[in-house]
Symmetry: D3
Subunit: 321 residues, 6 copies
């Protein structure tokens, strides 16, 4: 059943999220610090047993110069330069196994799949730690360091995601002018954020994105992971305002306003994890060219493989791929 | 938590399933009838957008000469002959989208993924109907025609699965002496059944197989799809014996005794859908060389990608692939 | 709690369902084909052990001349002619056991309880098969053949229901001018459909009817069986329009507009299975005289025995019974 | 799935329940007190609209001479004397509506369906209050007055049930030598208790009986209503022994040892409400001739209509009915 | 997630509850009858092992002069007179253990915690029975005697609560001019009721109060205990009007209009047990000075310890404590 | 219902946990490192509004000299020296609010309630961070750093707990020879661990302790937090052995063998969170004098306030308090 507004109301819905006055300064400072560390790219080939795809175990320097892992998959023996897809993964997972997720390389792209710090134990594995102190928090990462934007978990992860683009552009197999970011759920939220934080992307793809429109999201769904924030505020009753202040720096609604790359979004009318109004909250603010794939009878699986197939068409168009 | 016996008891567990006296005649007659129809293989190339894999939409004749669909995926431009994997899919799903499931072709195999008649609407889509009358039944296919082995749904599906091997062996890209069957859950049950029903396979792989040890399975789990049978018997109280008589013709325990190809099984100690004792029930009867992958802390997802990676090693060994 | 609109909004709610232009032709053709088969009525007395009711096992020819079973119950030894109630049953069930459902015969009616093809395994048993091919579908019958009105399961069942009226009128014990149709849930949906498809009924009774107002029903509830349609569209994402086109031929909203017999409906404000707005969607369109029993604190059980007691009063009034 | 021991272990299972030394005195005193009140039988005909059954609203004096309601249903116009079935109803319900439960009268019996004091609001309605003080208790009646056998709710209800037999034997329509008691769940527990408390019954029928083998029942199931007792002991931690002492006076295991009438029991292997071992706990102690209907794939619905049909055969045999 | 209206709509929400014309007479008569019995206060010291608090087991006469238990806790050795808090407890519980709930005495108040008749077996224990006949009802006390205001359970409990104030004022340790009532959930509903029923209170505190705005509460939540009423009406379908008539005498909305003492309320936007609109329904009618603590991300736990800490500040202000 | 072995089998159950050969070295090194930092005790009085208890906000240095918070509560104005209870809290919570948990100070003890690093957001709040890198993990702390005993979260928390005893003994209000440790669930596991790690305790109290008998606990329950470990191993399939190696250093079974202080345990037969066999696994190994409170009908709430009251008696006996 519908978990949120019907379609006609989504068209006119606008998020109530507001912008912190120093939002741009906050991110400029954060990214400058990270850029002060050399990208430190390291690749080592992986014996996957696959014959049509070459796979590399990648390490680069992300937030505070900390090591972040990734997989690079390219069509076997292709000399490049190739158009590239930088993919971010969903909440709880990691970059997964080298033999998973063969779609983008099989379609002829250089595919850099970034690991997610400190997660990587839910639906897929990861190997990147989150070397940062954690204050009192509810289980998960949604409230790790949430009392201050400077210590919030997603400051580190968004920065990793931005640096992954630098890593991709540094790869010998990649044509640096044809780099797109892509992801679903948390990965979609990261794609929006990165689109808002850098100007050199060829395209951005966000399937059923998470991390958008926190004021509404934390009130209209009981599903995790948005609910982690509500769980936290349930005991930290006097921190409601402070928590929402922090979230303003990370909300896709605010970052979408800064984006320029052509973007493909998807949303699903029966999605309880990332309710469609929160996706539209960011979509309506997205400042670049934008298109929406709307799935009427889907939950958080969204368009599934059709989301990816449509994204392939979209990227072929925008990356001349 | 453990959903079944602990490991040491699984080692010594034996199924109480018994064999219908005319089991071999039943299947000999059934398969002879199907073989009386030409295999009627039709291939048409599919524009998937993938560059490393060539994909074909396949149709062949299965039970009663009825059309069954499949995907054939091969490494792009490879002349063959290739070793082949015939894959059967899990309950509720179908052959899925052409762009899904790229592992086996990416690993250099001809990969024939058979659609499942009348399912194909759950976790993945299909296009093959089940053109057969349906008596009163509970939702699903587990009790379709269950009062008689001749009308039982799985008579048709097992026959399709056997004929898919014929289809694979007829393909120009395939080396007919190096064909393996593989699947998970219902697909694993089909792989065991096919291994018991024909002698020309190079190997069989069954991940957390379904359709094994019905006398125990219908009593120790509340999970679907085994529970469909219990639901049926809940109202059809006087058909208990008759239903179990039918199931005897289809139980992996009975068919495993007739198998000869080297087999790789997997089982998971926390699997409520296909409890491990039911898998061991078939495994202990399997007459060919056999190996078990046991996952201690997994449910019905079993070994996930690791099951596939280990199966790749296993098939390289047995198919000289 | 309320599962839908409050009462005042139900009064003014109107369904958004639209009519296929060829709706009347579709049904005229379908029913003419069925009427081309002789009704083929067969009765055999059943030894139930009951002394106040005579029971017969009935077979007649329904859709495509296929055999449909029913029970006929009449007051023991009554010579007739009697007023008759043709009853259709709820989703998943069948005509049940001969000793169940004694109310209408005990009240002096000839009571013909039709079996439901291919169901009859849920809350009550049945014996009528559905001899038709089934395409890929989700478990249940809601999506069996749903891509085309010609192949949709309910085309066959609605036709059986229409023919059951012919069967009833052919019975020696029945006064053909005093035949009513009645049912709850799916049975109520069938009663509305039959009321829309034939002009010779004395009355129609639909308790908490199902099969009404599909555009809303598939979006506002998570309960089965409406949810089967949403489940199907979840994977068959590109068939949304086509599925709704099919449903238009079967929607009680559309068929109610063609009805003339006096009708008694019931609805319940806490019904999640057949939300009250969907019942009102059909009720407001019902073209004959109509009355609503509204239950404020009930779910899908509706008025329970009170629905039947009020229906008895209603039928005594309209059938001079 | 099985909720309890498998069948072979049920055959040899014996309850650990022990007998209070003054069990017989307790009940002799209790019943003598009740018998000191005139049975006070009052009948008034009810206009049900049914033509094959005559129905009466019955009141008689039960525990402490308090009024207890019942329905009497007899074949219309039958002069009697008839064999009689005294029926007790399941937990939470009451005697229901006059138009429900027509089976036994339609089969030619005088059918006295006793209301249940203070319940009658769950699955069926009632009108008999429980005019007794209630100590602290958990919701429901299982722990009402449980700290002392003298104040326990079931002392009153068991006494009502015994007096209902006196009421039935006093009815002009009834042959006093052919009275049976019957019920399901709580009704079955009452039937066993009454069979143990009086010697003049022609037969007893207990479908999936409740109120048996409390020491085991309160420990092996989480289902209500047994769980009410566990809920009570969860906070009244120091009353474990005292509560079990009270229950000893009411346990079907103890009362079955005193029974003499031929009995038909049913049990279901997948019953979580009244797990089969607790039924066998009473069955194995039952001192009269006994027979068990065992349902392998049923829950607490047991044999449903088949339980009743088999009971009809059983009662025809033992009541020469 | 929000379980009810958003905050801005709560501000303007008004309950649809109406007043029985004889509401004042009903309560005047009821309370006069109770006041006709001597308060019969009995105290006995309890050896708790605590050194900073003196505890007494208290008995007083409540409704119909029946004994009601309570705990009195005072700072050890304090001569008085002290300001007093009379506390009522939540649904299902009782006065609990003597060693629980030390906050108010530790803060320097005389703390009289009243037991709840016939409950005291859920989350905390009690020892006060409810010596009254119970008609047919659903488990719990919400529908005990609900067909008539004179027999309704809450008539007795509200009267006990009023008499507890008399008991407190009679205590030698208490300054009778500085008595407040306080409670959460059911206890909060009682506090509002008592505030409406007597004029001599210094203050009233109601955390997330229950027993308010029944017309809305019984329709917008599925949570117990409000749902007990819906459950009752589900089978007692013809008593809807009668039940609501009874509830009108007990609704906090109606009693709040009669209150004069300064009051502190709390409500929580994610409370499904006592949805915030029902709390606002009473709050907006409250005739004395009133203040609301609103918790944005809480369920029925409301403000937890913060509710109590704020209540302490509030009572220090109003009781000069 | 019973969640584990019945009582007689618990008496003879022994855990299969084994000891790492360097267990004593591991802890000696860890604690020596911590002891190398000055305890750094800081107290500041808190204005709670309570009059019978003086409360202090305490900070001391725990693992790696990192600051750990606590509350100190003492009877108001008491000069000391007092016997002391060091309390550890349950999983997810923190030291809570200053006004909560007044029992031990009201009973005349100095009560030091230690905060839990990085938790403090579940059922009660905390303020102590966990300043340590976190590898990939599932939500919660059970798998934080679990691949190595040196990085495991509980290495830090156990060390904090040991240092809290040093903090208590340093307090001017405390008699250093009369210090006990106490806690429930995680707090009970910490009490057992501390009892095994230091020799100067007067007593230890562990209610329904957690963190005991991991080999069994991770296999017999689906409840969190033990299930976090199973969740981790579900994706980190190849780390089973390594994870269990780490857990051996922290298992209460192993640490109990090193304890000498008199201990009071509690366990509950219906506890799914900390199943009773896992508690008995540690209890049977406990090397000091030991006593068990067994609750037959309780879940993880165990004995509730009765556990505390019995612990008060126990501590008065052993601390001459």
């Amino acid at each position: 059943m519908l978990t949120d507004l019907p379609l006609d109301q989504l068209e006119s819905y606008r998020s109530s999220q507001t912008e912190p006055p120093d939002l741009d300064d906050f991110w400029a400072g954060t990214l400058a610090e990270a850029a002060g560390h050399d990208i430190g790219l390291r690749l080592s080939p992986v014996a996957t047993g696959l014959t049509t795809i070459d796979t590399y175990d990648v390490t680069f320097r992300g937030y505070a110069g900390q090591d972040v892992r990734a997989w690079l998959r390219v069509p076997a023996g292709h000399p490049g330069p190739l158009p590239a897809v930088v993919q971010y993964v969903g909440y709880g997972g990691g970059r997964g196994h080298a033999c998973e997720n063969l779609f983008w390389a099989s379609a002829g792209f250089a595919h850099l799949q970034m690991d997610t710090r400190g997660q990587g134990s839910g639906w897929s594995v990861g190997e990147t730690p989150d070397p940062a102190p954690a204050g009192p928090q509810v289980p998960g990462v949604m409230t790790r360091g949430i009392l201050d934007p400077a210590s919030y978990y997603y400051r580190r992860l968004y920065t990793d995601a931005v640096r992954a683009v630098d890593a991709a552009r540094s790869l010998p197999q990649v044509d640096a002018d044809r780099v797109a970011v892509l992801g679903g759920s948390q990965g979609g939220g990261l794609a929006i954020a990165v689109a808002g934080l850098r100007a050199d992307l060829a395209a951005a793809v966000a399937f059923v994105p998470f991390l958008c429109d926190f004021p509404r999201a934390t009130r209209i769904t009981d599903s995790y992971p948005y609910r982690e924030i509500a769980d936290y505020l349930k005991t930290h009753r006097e921190s409601v305002e402070r928590v929402h202040r922090t979230l303003g720096y990370f909300d896709g609604v605010n970052l979408a306003r800064r984006a320029g790359a052509p973007a493909l979004f998807s949303a699903a009318l029966m999605d309880a994890t990332c309710p469609p109004s929160t996706v539209y909250g960011a979509f309506h603010e997205y400042a670049g060219p934008r298109r929406m794939l709307l799935w009427e009878y889907n939950g958080h699986e969204g368009g599934g493989i059709l989301d990816e197939v449509r994204a392939l068409e979209f990227l072929r168009e925008h990356l001349a791929a």
